[in-house]
Amino acid sequence: MPDALLQIDTLTAGYVKDLPILRGVSLTARYGELTVIIGPNGAGKSTLIKAVAGLLQVTEGKVTLDGGNITGISPDRMTRAGIAYVPQTDNVFRTLTIQQNLDLVLKLHSNPSGRLAALFRQFPVLKEKRRSKAGSLSGGQRQFLAVALALAVEPRLILMDEPSAGLSPKAAEEVLDHVKELTRQGVSVLLVEQNVKQALKRADHCYVLAEGRNQIDGPAEELLENPALGRIYLGGERKGAA
């Protein structure tokens, strides 16, 4: 079994003081794996990766990357530590062109110019539209740009918040396929998804959160068989999701 890349240890965090959304969540993301976090609405999934990305104040617990403590460091230093974050919405700079989006992130990390060409090879559609404003892209294309922005810094770990949300089923599968492809290239991904079936199909390891706490976790294929998943996750309401 590969070693742990990101280790989250009993993390407590939230948006306002004294009102934690996360109450002691622990999680491990391993090298080159697709780790998926699922759970019902309000479980704290997005909060968890925002806290890891440095956007929220962590009140308790510890986050380590490759053994180095990165708890609560500022978001702009987080990227330099090797973590990239793709928010669910507003994840590209709409007023800049695609090329300007990528150039900005590349230059901020003084990455060689060859990197842009590599990204364009990986996402031909972005090359095609490189002079258009990011705001004019379709939902799927925008997610690709967002992923490309994250890849620009050559991260070891990408945090992704529901990249398939709001996309057509076809575009959603395309984006998730691409995410899986990334892990084959050696980039580890920590993914939050609502689209449980599609996510579990591709995941290596899966965590289920509810009410800000760990519920169950395990290899994706095992979890699919676990009857507890339906109980926690569906709560009788969201039928058909799994």
Binding site: L55, L56, P75
Partner: protein, 325 residues
């Protein structure tokens, strides 16, 4: 002794009138989260309106309609309300700081027009010779001032009761809802823009009422009475008292007006002669520091609202992000 009492009556009258204005501002800022940077324009519209409508015929400028006093006062309030309606209508649907800028502009333009439109407003000389109501019965002395104070206190009480009722009414809850979470309020089918406009105009009418009483008390108004510093003073009163809190706002009015008159007296009494010229500057710095200091160290005021609510216009997530700056 009569001198002290007479001074106390005078002081209480002015402080109470300003207290009414603070209550009006509290409706706008404390309950609705609207920044009115031109309190003095509403105040001035009330004062000028009242004196022009209720005053005797005069040479040289418009006015002198000699209206029955309550009607004149009402007219002043309407003037303040109309002015607020125009500005509010134009700005309240836009980014919230447009209102701050536009109201600030109204105040600048208002003072400027009062000073220059001599044929309408009496210009720099202002409007003089106003016949105060009931003067023929009560004379000009202490009795008049005492009765006038009683009248002001009655008005203050009425405004207070009106606003207290308003805050617990469905409309008041709506104001709070909009202040706390505009999107949620909108999703419930309420029109925040319209509600805000009503609140803004109502607040300005109350400030106009204060202005009308102020003009009546001095039987005189001039551009000197509508300088920007009055806006700052009334704001300081509100922030000291605690925005959203009616009783606190009143306490703030008395506290700040007391501090203002005392500092003016102390500076003129004890400061060296050559520094006398700077009395105003020193007092202005103090008012500014009260505002900034309160925001830094006690934004909820000395007498905070008992209900637990967040700051106006606060967006939790964004505050978090900006917490790193």
């Amino acid at each position: 002794m009569i001198g002290v009492i007479s001074y106390l009556v005078f002081f209480t009258t002015v402080a109470s009138i300003l207290g009414i204005a603070v209550l009006g501002l509290n409706l706008q800022w404390g309950n609705t989260g609207l920044f009115n940077g031109g309190v003095v324009a509403s105040f001035g519209a009330g004062a000028y309106g009242t004196l022009m409508l209720g005053g005797p015929a005069q040479d040289g400028h418009l006015g002198g309609f000699g209206l029955f006093y309550p009607l004149a006062l009402l007219g002043g309030m309407v003037a303040a309300g109309v002015l607020a309606w125009i500005v509010g209508k134009l700005t309240l649907r836009l980014r919230h700081d447009y209102l701050a800028i536009a109201t600030f502009g109204v105040a600048v333009a208002f003072e400027n027009v009062m000073r220059n439109a001599t044929s309408i407003t009496g210009g720099a000389q202002g409007i003089r010779g106003f016949e105060r109501p009931l003067r023929d019965v009560l004379g000009d002395g202490f009795t008049y001032n005492a009765v006038f104070l009683a009248g002001v206190l009655v008005v203050l009480l009425l405004v207070y009761v009106f606003l207290e009722r308003l805050t617990v009414s469905p409309f008041g809850r709506l104001l709070r809802a909009i202040r706390e979470d505009e999107t949620a309020a909108r999703s419930l089918g309420k029109s925040p823009d319209r509600i805000r406009l009503i609140s803004f105009v109502t607040g300005s009418v109350i400030i106009g009422l204060a202005g009308g009483l102020y003009g009546t008390f001095y039987a005189f108004v001039s551009p000197q009475d509508v300088l920007p510093i009055l806006t700052f003073q009334i704001w300081a009163m509100l922030i000291v008292g605690g925005a959203g809190n009616t009783r606190g706002a009143l306490a703030g009015a008395f506290l700040i007006w007391g501090a203002w008159t005392f500092s003016g007296w102390a500076l003129s009494r004890f400061a060296p002669v050559e520094a006398q010229l700077y009395t105003g500057s020193i007092q202005f710095v103090l008012i500014g520091m009260v505002i900034v200091g309160m925001l830094l160290w006690r934004p909820q005021g000395l007498f905070p609202e008992r209900l637990i609510v967040s700051q106006p216009g606060r967006n939790r997530e964004k505050t978090q992000v900006e917490g790193f700056t």
